[in-house]
Amino acid sequence: MAKMDLAPGTVLDGFTIGRVVHKGGMAIFYDVTHPDHAIPMLMKVPILREGEDPATIVGFEMEQMILPRLSGRHVPRYIAKGDFARQPYLVYERVPGDTLYKRLDTLPLPPLEVAAIAAKVATALHDLHGQHVIHLDIKPSNIILRDPDGEAVLIDYGLSHHVQLPDLMDEEFRLPYGTAPYMAPEQVYGIRSDPRSDLFALGVLMYFFTTGVRPFGDPQRLKGLQRRVWWDPVPPRRLQPAIPPWLQEIILRCLAPNPAHRHPTAAQLAFDLTHPEQVTLTPRASKLERDPWGMRMKRRFNPDSFRPDRARVKQLDARINAAPIVVAAIDLSDSHRDLTDAVRVTVARILATLPDARLACLNVQKINLITPDDHLDADGHSIHVQRLVALKDWARTLNIAEDRVTCHVLEAVDAGGAILDYVRSNTVDHVVLGATTSTRLRNILGSVATEIVQKAPCTVTVVRKSRAQDTAAAASVHLA
């Protein structure tokens, strides 16, 4: 392939080459301008030398296949590409903001700041996974916090896997490709199709950013890489006591050698990071010592239960679909008891088919704008706490594991708006709520259901009682 001289001022396919922004090991990045594109842009040009690692070329081929397919807030906008026959390049949006690599000099960062950053990265990962792509090279230099909104943007798709396209990297190379400190154990063993590999890498990043120490070091040989299957890192709270137990719980769950023991989806990880009080704490939340020697040796010499089975790796889309975040919006007033029972039956059916699904039970406590501080009843018990107790009681009879259910009482003037906000900010997949069939009650209850059906960006199931039940309920309201 011909290589052109890309001196400043050169024009290539209408793009005028500007200054070199960054020169990495595999590619050079130029500022470019184009009369048809007003946004700031980068041109990425692979460095192709004689005897160069073929992964450079294959990685660039992959990125040229994947980036044009991606869209949304969490990826740089694709503009153009150039073929290998003349001059390979990729042009995309120059995302304003710094990569997390710039933070390395300031480590360790305060734990809550790391949790906030990680929540943004997890949200971005969920968006990427929803577009059929597993990044497989999540590390500080591939994450930009976009100015001014601070949203995470993921860059560099040279090692990524697109589940709907041929994987040019797979089986091409004998050694696993990735970045040693961040690579998930299954990646070390050549599996490139598990989205939870990205959660492992994010766990490494959280550990590193909160403690200033990489959990598995920076091994340079395959043997050293494989050690992470059995060699558990020192619990981060030992190195940084300011880390709250809930955050250690999350970090160590991400670092589980077997992907089945991590969060089922990036959305569920983001949910935990943004709802610390709802994280179910296990013994690992407070542990300060590594696993005993015997346990580690057991893992080392019996790796089968920790090494993922290639045949059992589920397809990405199937995995995301099997682990939705489900919201049950519950009206706790006595007159709707039949309806909340009906909602419970429907929720139970949904959860029964989806063992990795997560349920968030919501109740909206209406507040008065004029007297906003009037939230204590005569007995001094917070209505908020009472409702939380009632929600937990509603969920109790579903008989599902504690770590799959959370309960939330939202305080808001407008119930529909509060539920919709919650759905959007937690990437909820499915809302289940009750609505009455009685005309009289529909004016009150039905308006919330209608608003959610119209505006929610996800599936909504509206549950109604059978007609007989409804007539009885309407009659009892009349009598009251």
């Binding site: 073929p54 081929e61 296949m65 044009p68 290998f84 589940v163 396209l165 994987d167 040019l168 091409e172």
Partner: protein, 246 residues
């Protein structure tokens, strides 16, 4: 230019018509019929006429092993295939048989090669069932893209400059960019007798401008096609397998 590839029609008129209706909505500039127009199905005459008319209007047609076997002195088939071809021989007109006999084994189109079974030993119709045969096929040509049919299940193989071959089962209706850094072998599924577990008619579309290959599936009136095969007195397996796609 957008090129449609239709392989293994196998005298299934319902499937062929459904695919042509689907293709009509996809701005196709040229159609290549990858062979096996006849055999197995109950409408060989109608299918040959459609392909013949299309070829007269600029489409490309290729010879498949079933098409060749219509001429009794040439390639021999086995079992149900032979029973079907004997029946086919009796219902085709002399003109239709002459059209089939005149079809070429391969077509070269710029840097692309079209052939019914494989670029390797095309006259003996080997099956590209996996990486090994795909490698043989890609080694036998220097085309950037070879397009074949014959196995009745879609697949996409690619080979690096160093000769490594990898395979991929295409996702329906997802355009796949064919990197120019490697060479590609696209195996089309069957229009008239799919065997990959999806009974819908299969075909492919290649866009020369974007260098993307799309594998499409089209549901069709299987019951009608099956009833005709049954009424023609052909072996039961030939109509039964249409509804399972096996």
């Amino acid at each position: 230019m957008r090129i449609a590839f239709l392989a293994d029609i196998h005298a299934n008129l319902e499937a062929l018509e459904a695919v042509r209706r689907d293709a009509a909505g996809r701005a196709i500039d040229r159609t290549i019929f990858l062979g096996d127009i006849v055999g197995y199905g109950a409408d060989p005459g109608a299918c040959v006429d459609i392909v013949r008319d299309a070829c007269a209007a600029g489409a490309g047609g290729l010879l498949g092993n079933h098409d060749e076997a219509v001429d009794a002195s040439r390639f021999k088939l086995n079992g149900n295939a032979e029973a079907a071809i004997q029946w086919t021989r009796a219902v085709l007109s002399a003109d239709q048989k002459a059209f089939l006999a005149g079809l070429p084994l391969s077509i070269t189109d710029e840097s692309r090669l079209y052939v019914h079974a494989s670029a390797a030993k095309s006259a003996s119709f080997p099956y590209v069932h996996g990486l090994h045969e795909a490698r043989d096929s890609l080694m036998a040509t220097d085309a950037k893209l070879a397009v074949v049919g014959h196995v009745h299940a879609p697949a996409l193989y690619h080979m690096t400059v160093t000769g490594k071959v990898m395979g991929f089962v295409p996702i329906i209706d997802t355009p796949i960019p064919l990197s120019t850094q490697r060479r590609w072998l696209a195996v089309m599924g069957a229009v008239g007798q799919p065997r990959d577990g999806n009974p819908a008619a299969a075909y492919g579309i290649y866009d020369t401008a974007t260098n993307e290959m799309t594998f499409a599936r089209v549901p069709y009136d299987i019951e009608r096609a099956a009833a005709k095969i049954r009424a023609a007195g052909l072996p039961d397996n030939l109509w039964q397998r249409l509804s399972t796609g096996r």
